[in-house]
Amino acid sequence: MKQYETVIGLEVHVELATKTKIFCSCSTEFGGEPNSHTCPVCTGMPGSLPVLNKKVVEYAAAVGLATNCKITKNCKFDRKNYFYPDNPQNYQISQLYYPICRDGGIEIETKDGGKKTIGIHEIHMEEDAGKLVHDEWGEDSLVDFNRSGVPLIEIVSEPDMRSADEVIAYLDKLRLIIQYLGASDCKLQEGSMRADVNLSIREAGTKEFGTRTEMKNLNSFKAIARAIEAEKERQIDIIESGQKVIQETRRWDDNKEYSYAMRSKEDAQDYRYFPEPDLVPVVISDEWLEEIKAAQPEFRDEKINRYKEEYKIPEYDAQIITSDKHLADLFEATTAICNNPKKVSNWLMVETMRLMKENNMEPAELKFSPENLAKLINLAESKAINSQIAKEVFEKIFNEDIDPEKYVEENGLKTVSDDGALKEVVKKVIEANPQPVNDYHNGKKKAMGFLVGQIMKEMQGKADPALANKLLKELL
């Protein structure tokens, strides 16, 4: 069989984290009764006019700067005309002719540890559509315009990626940059980040591109990876059997791990783009651009270096903690209080990660406060509670953000380090367990563990295990 190369470009839509919509002052907040976050503008009422939200321009330009794009100082909006009920004006205000950012790129790490730059063709601003709600019992469909007019940026890459790994690395990097900017929370599952994959294959070594397809409905990194593999195979099969790939848009069904054609190029709509006459050109002055630049945050690579220097935590820890902006923020806030970076890092990397995985959560969903984690670390460090108790208390913090000091106090969880009381229990355990005691004296060191366990059980976990060990050895 011939060798094939996969060529992939991405169109990534990101919902911006502005408080209000792109062309009106309605809230962008998620949820809410249908059509409760609407006004004449975002429902396309006759006579209403759009007014651009300045924050959208700032976020879009910030993403452009962070991805090494050129910023269009005189950018314009255009109308994209198409009929669909979720689109109240039957046109979408977008940018075609003069998008805000062009010609950028970001560096990713490839599987073999090398570096590669993925080009960014352009970034443009546009409005989101509403949502159709289909009545399951009747024949009607209803429209909810709460999402109509939520600001989006579309980041169009060059066809520079060659594998699913590179695609994931690119998306991951993009997600982090945007999260660090605070421009979006970039949740694929909730749709605040959506990626459409343009994929074609060609014989290895050739220069010309093959016919590409566009894949939609990809709701997770895993789905993206699976869809890329499947589409690659599908196109190779077509070419191997002597047929031609059709340029079309396909929809991925992640449950069936299969895609089906939505529309071919022949049925592609003519969007009749033209300059939006209701908006004036966006002039981005040098001063404004400087302000946006000055407001850029510390990005991940800079953070990793600072963590290693300032907090003296290992590269590995720094990598994991900075892999998500929320995690990094939590780390810095907690460390600022308890001044124990390595412990904070441990709690985040081990227990926090474990519970997140168990609960299928994203770091953005963490709801405990740095204050309570810091208090817990202080309790554990001062040996006021032992490590087992600390883990239990942490679960409470993780789930309910309880105050660990109060909780330990109210539930009597403080470590008993009073010699007298503990000595009594140790004696009791020795008396009650003659066989293990014997075993211990006969050199079976494992028996020691059993006995300590019994002591802890008697003490309801509140004993200082080191002290229990010491006393047990003495009394034996």
């Binding site: 004449p40 429902t43 396309g44 009422m45 006759p46 006579g47 209403s48 006019l49 759009p50 007014v51 651009l52 109308r79 005309n81 009929f83 009920p85 109240p88 004006q89 039957n90 046109y91 429209v143 003519d270 009749r272 783009y273 033209f274 006459p277 209701d278 908006l279 004036v280």
Partner: protein, 487 residues
Amino acid sequence: MSLMKLTATGLGKKIQNKEVSVTEAVNAALDAIEKKEEKINSFVTIDREGALKRAKEVQQLIDRGELKSNLAGVPVAIKDNMCTEGMLTTCSSKILSNFVPMYTAEAVLNLEKAGAVIVGKTNMDEFAMGSTTETSYYGATKNPWNTAHVTGGSSGGSCAAVAAEECIYALGSDTGGSIRQPSSFCGVTGMKPTYGTVSRYGLIAYGSSLDQIGPVAKDVTDCAAILEVIASHDPKDSTSVKRDDYNFTSALVDDVKGIKIGIPRDYFGAGLDGEVKEAVLNAAKELEKKGAILEEFDLSLVDYAIPAYYIIACAEASSNLARFDGVKYGYRTSEYNGLHNMYKKSRSEGFGQEVKRRIMLGSFVLSSGYYDAYYIKALKTKALIKKAFDAAFAKYDVILGPVAPTTAPEIGKSLSDPLKMYLGDIYTISANLAGLPGISLPCGTDSKGLPIGMQLLGDCFKEKNIIRAAYAFEQTREYRHSPLSLS
């Protein structure tokens, strides 16, 4: 004398002086409407109850000294393409025949703040597309000077209502001459301000980059006073301009000494009716007598204005009117089979011929493969026309010419030949393409007794120049009440 013979500022003064109550003024308008509406059809909606209720409120505010505007309590009619909260707003189209807006257009709000009392919404060409007010779903409005003739359009209802004295003044909108041309045909004064002067928020768009709201009244004084009230910088309209000076009435001075008036030869060539030409040139001479300096010049590019205008206006309209689909508001066909069939049937049944023609024209010029050849070329032409006017205004304070090539044609003679109808816009559309202010005021009548209008154009933001010249000319001539207003 009937109150309806008064000008807006004249009646406003009497109301402030307590010579006339607001209710009396409003009743006078409502009575006139009742008497004349059958003959003239200038209204789509008459709000008798709302107007009388509002009259009482306004009177109280005046009595408490809280409303001092000389438009307070004066009955006004609003073109039916401006949103009025709780009041039917149809654009004279079947597709909006049941549409009641949830908000009021900014220009109308400004009037209401000044104490205006709205008596109703006026008839128009459907979605402001037309030059005769015959494309209305509600039937043609008839010219108060001769009901066998059209009013012009698209603000025909507003102009006829003022001329027939069913209201004291009205608001119209002007995308290619839609205030000036019917004002000329109906013998009233109408003004299109510089683009961006009056907020478009709440004006149901036809050609967004060309649309502008303006006053229709009996005289120049009223137009200046009304413009002063409706003009504002509106953050809700991104194309709204913050102007340094809104004091338009300060230009109401009878003095044109040394003012330079350019007369474009291109506006007086073939196609212009002889009687219209004579009346307009005579008017120019009146101004000359008062000390203005007249000079003929070549404006150039006049022939390109019509194709450029129809491409741009229709392109924007094809997109602006896409929202009327039967989904959210307005007319929906009674029987349909699936979404696309609903769109198709609702729009086919809801829009009239002329609107469909312009939607198709606009969709065509924006289609891939034609965009550069038509739309981009039209935009370039627009820029060149603006340049030609810039050059003219470097030399002249005011440009004087006719409003339309003829006086009002007979009803039923225009729609069968749309291209000919489009050519009738030749003297007015350039002002929209270049964003200029323009005023149309009566300067004579033809042998059939139909009014002839003259047009004065000014440079962008130079309304005061045309107000001054128009006011000076107006002093040479009595206002002539239309025959229907006297009936």
